[in-house]
Symmetry: C2
Subunit: 297 residues, 2 copies
Amino acid sequence: MSRSGEFELIRRFLAPLATAAGAGGLEDDAALLDAPEGKRRLAVTTDTMVEGVHFPPDGPPSLIARRLLRSNLSDLAAMAARPEGYLLNLALSERIDDPWLEAFAAGLAADQEEFGISLLGGDTVGTPGALTLTVTAFGSASTPVRRSGATPGDLVFVTGPVGDGYFGLKAVRGEMEAPRLAERYWLPSPRFGAAEGATAAADISDGLVADLGHICHASGVAAVIDLEAVPLSAEVAALGAQARLDSLTGGDDYELVFTAPRSTAIAVGRIVSGEGVTVLDGAGQPVALARQGYRHD
Amino acid sequence: MSRSGEFELIRRFLAPLATAAGAGGLEDDAALLDAPEGKRRLAVTTDTMVEGVHFPPDGPPSLIARRLLRSNLSDLAAMAARPEGYLLNLALSERIDDPWLEAFAAGLAADQEEFGISLLGGDTVGTPGALTLTVTAFGSASTPVRRSGATPGDLVFVTGPVGDGYFGLKAVRGEMEAPRLAERYWLPSPRFGAAEGATAAADISDGLVADLGHICHASGVAAVIDLEAVPLSAEVAALGAQARLDSLTGGDDYELVFTAPRSTAIAVGRIVSGEGVTVLDGAGQPVALARQGYRHD
């Protein structure tokens, strides 16, 4: 292994990412974050990913970086927030060397460019255990959308095909041949703008049924999903009926599910009074689900 | 091992700590953080601690929690910021059970009360490796103090005895008998208010010489420390001359070092033009240091 010490590592790989003035070149005890003019409210979210638990060991470092960052940005999108910047905590296992870090930083740089954000600060340590990565992302949220605002009569929408992440992970693991799905696993697209004006929203990283269930729980309502209205990509649709069900409960998707009173867009379900999420088939009959959703834990 | 699942764990141990409205009961994709009225500027800091690297394995969970939180609060104090709230990321190793989590949460609750802050959000995952804990703390900073403002002619101050943390760790490890120092290791006191009006400040978690060195580097100046002016606790002073030197370069202290043009307080040194930090003995002669400071890395 050849790895720079902490200060050298920060200087070489991380300081170039800290383009915002508030990052202070990563030289201060804390970063400074200004709430945008007229928007004093910040949305803050954080995700920790452990190698072998949340992403495959020996995955490409640039894609590990971008997926980690995008999963946090997706949480901001679910709150109808706009991305401002992020912190990065690295607990580096012994196998991580400078070429790995260089590729990891290049992935972050690409997505900083794409989403117009800057690294603001963080912490870098060594660990005798598994590589552990944490991103904390900040967004401005003048009119944040929470999970608790759904009411009976609202319709339920998703922002794109469901199941690409679930089957994408199978493709990454070599269990099926689907390069586009593998890319969707590694590079989810945060749906900025989609949740604006919604009564409630969440990203579906735990699966559509589970995350709509979180909305229902927080809102004190129930939901009914029309199985045949749920959009699937062509690759997933071609896998058959069981794949359609698995797509509703599989994890690793980063589309949003949101509720709104009415829309010209096509709804996948509706909010009703009661508890829980029910899926109806084309004949209007409830579908039995083997599980509600995915948990890494 | 007996440990609750992620959702149950959050409900039992973490949700009771999320007292701020912006935490949304830990049910949303992101927390909401309002910049205080008239203070749009937030200070943000984050520290990751790995069991066996940054704290002794099998340390008391309540003290591990409080030290992690206080080390972050100390960074806010160094920026002259006031604490507002924090995020908590837990990567739990297999040995962590519910009693451990209960004691850990009790430690956080005690310090939330002491410092008037709330848990705002976080992430909880399992890890096959070492217990890895991250706190990200937020503070309001109307007039933040950075590391880059020291100028020749400024005096150098510390907020309290130096070396208690370094020798406290030895006490925790059973290498010496000093219960008060062990407590100082586990429960550092963030020096809120002390840095207000300073030209530059840092906490001395890397050691006085190293962190004053960071100020010098960021400010483009040098510093001279008067060895005999550096305050030591009675226990550390009793350890003799080498202990006095070790206290200047030992880590794990959470006093602040700051620079200011003049003061009625007693200075430990002064800022001069040039580079680096020089320590002078009672006869005004430079002292050779075996190392500049401590790094966990």
